[in-house]
Amino acid sequence: MKKLLSKDKWLYALHTVSHPADGFYEIRHRDRGSVAVALIFVILFSLAWSVNRISAGFIVNDIDPRDVNSLPELITVLLFFFLICVSNWSITCLMDGKGRLKDIVIAVGYSTLPATVGILIGTVVSRFVSEDEAAFYTMICGVGIAYTLFMMLVGIMTVHNFTLGKTLITLFLTVVALLLIIFIVLLIVDLVNQFYSFLHSIYQELLFRT
């Protein structure tokens, strides 16, 4: 754990944000990334999201503060994060991707950093803008999120050693795989439920017989 969270790893994460292509290459081939740091970044992203929803200025904030609950939001973000990673991994495995699951987790995790920073800065700025200046807020958040998407694209391209075209195709297939996984999970849950109720009715039958 100490090694995973060493100062070098943290600094390297920042280096990756400023030099995505080189950074992700070294993560893949020289093990300079850290899964723990990536997970912390995802958690930070989720927290920034909740903070934005609850305390962005009134002008830009349409959300009923009573609706915000950061813990379920954190769980949702983490689940979605793992779903993306796993579905991307399962597709790229079949398409000669060079990345390991670890690399994908790091690539996606590190990419969330610009969005986190953008949203946090935007939240602070939003408390000082009036209605006609709200565009600044949108721009700051937008730039952060756009850079995150760009990093994600570059990251996945680099760790798998893909061309741009192939990356876009795999990303599309990733979405398909994601939907498939959700579908299968729902099927299984339903099946388990039915099986459980079947066992439960047998149990009740036996109870009433005696």
């Binding site: 009134f58 002008i59 009923d64 000082f128 009036s130 209605e131 006609d132």
Partner: protein, 493 residues
Amino acid sequence: MRKTFRSKRILGVLILSFMASFSATAVHAEEDVPYDTYNYNYWEDVIKTPAAYTPAGKFGGIDLGTTAFKEPRDFCISEDGEIYVADTGNNRIVVLDGSLRKVNRIIDTFTAEGIEDHFSAPYGVCVSENGELFVADSNNARVVVLTPGGEYKRVVKEPKSEILEDDFAFIPLKVTVDYADRIYVISKGAFEGILVFESDGTFSGYFGTIEVKISVWEKFWRRFASKEERSNTQLYIPTEFTGIDVDADGFIYASNIDSEGIQAVRRLNPQGKDVIQKGENGNVGGDIRYGNYGDYSGPSEIVDVVYRGKGMYSALDRKRGRVFTYDKEGNLLYIFGGVGLQDGTFQTPVAIEQIGEEVLILDAGRNVIMKFRETNYGNLINEAVGLRFDGDEKQAIGKWQEVLRLDENNELANNGIGKAYLTAGDNEKAMHYFELGMNKEYYSIAFKRYRNMILAENLGWILTGAMVLIVAGFIFKKIKNRKKGIEREEGLL
């Protein structure tokens, strides 16, 4: 032992005070109403409010001293305060006095050009400013004009015009008259709009046609459909108007049943263009939240509208028996009424009118007129909205504060107070109230002023701080450079 006695006594006091607090709320017995009173907030959630109107009795034909009404469909209030009820099932017009105590007269026959004539299912009734009585005599396909006493004056017959279809049947349901004695008639099945007649009875055209909306998706499918399929699908015809009223400026308020539940009331200018404002929630169609399954599901079905003065108007929903009152900007002010058998609830509400401060609703299912009296809460809102309509926001602030005392979530009240503080120059308080009232536009104005004020007050500090920072950075850089220079020199040595 003693201790338990004392604790029992404390308990007793507690229970007593609890009960006292209960009886304190029971003082508001006037708000013990047989329906839900609520409103929608910024997020379109249902928020409970105090009752704005409470039931104040029901009046059937027998109570008033005549035979029972039979499916009365419309009524109307004349300038001198008499109530004209179109007793459709009994083929007569019943004239009541304004306080609903007695029947003044009954009009069931009239003598037209020497021949005695009757009504046949008189569906709509209206009294003009000049005191002429207009009766939409639906089965006889005419609008009969009488004096208030029931003397025949003239008749408006089935219109003849090229713009009408050949199989057009004139079945007048509702009628109203504006200050220039133009006659507006809603005819059954006239989807093209309201029929307008000049005062002498000549037909001058349609008015206020409701445009049909076809979604892109439906257009897309129609492209691929064959001719037969196209003729089999339902026709896209606009909805009919259901109720009509006219305000002092000659603007026509017309209601229709909107299947989307978004716009059920139109405010038509003299050209027949809709100029209604839809308010914060973009909705003047009654209920915003409703169930999709079951008995009372689906959007509200607005069957009548009444102009209440000061830009306010009320719409009557026959589906859930509710009355929705909006102000000029289309903000929903309050809701009352319901479906049921208790006093104050309806079976088939068909028409709504205002007499003085009271609201009357005609129920064709129970054959009664239901009377509603405004509560303190309703009165405060009516007066505050009226003052605001007259442009007297400062006067309104006291009323709004009273409203807030009764209903602290009232967004209109918060905005009203916020505006008063804004004009008084107290931007911080204005911001607070605008945030409670979820009014971003005005909050932004108050915030800008507040920000400028803070900046102006602290400009000295801010500029000094910035100067200090710049100088400090400059000195820091110099020291760093000197150190580097020394290091370099040392390196050279």
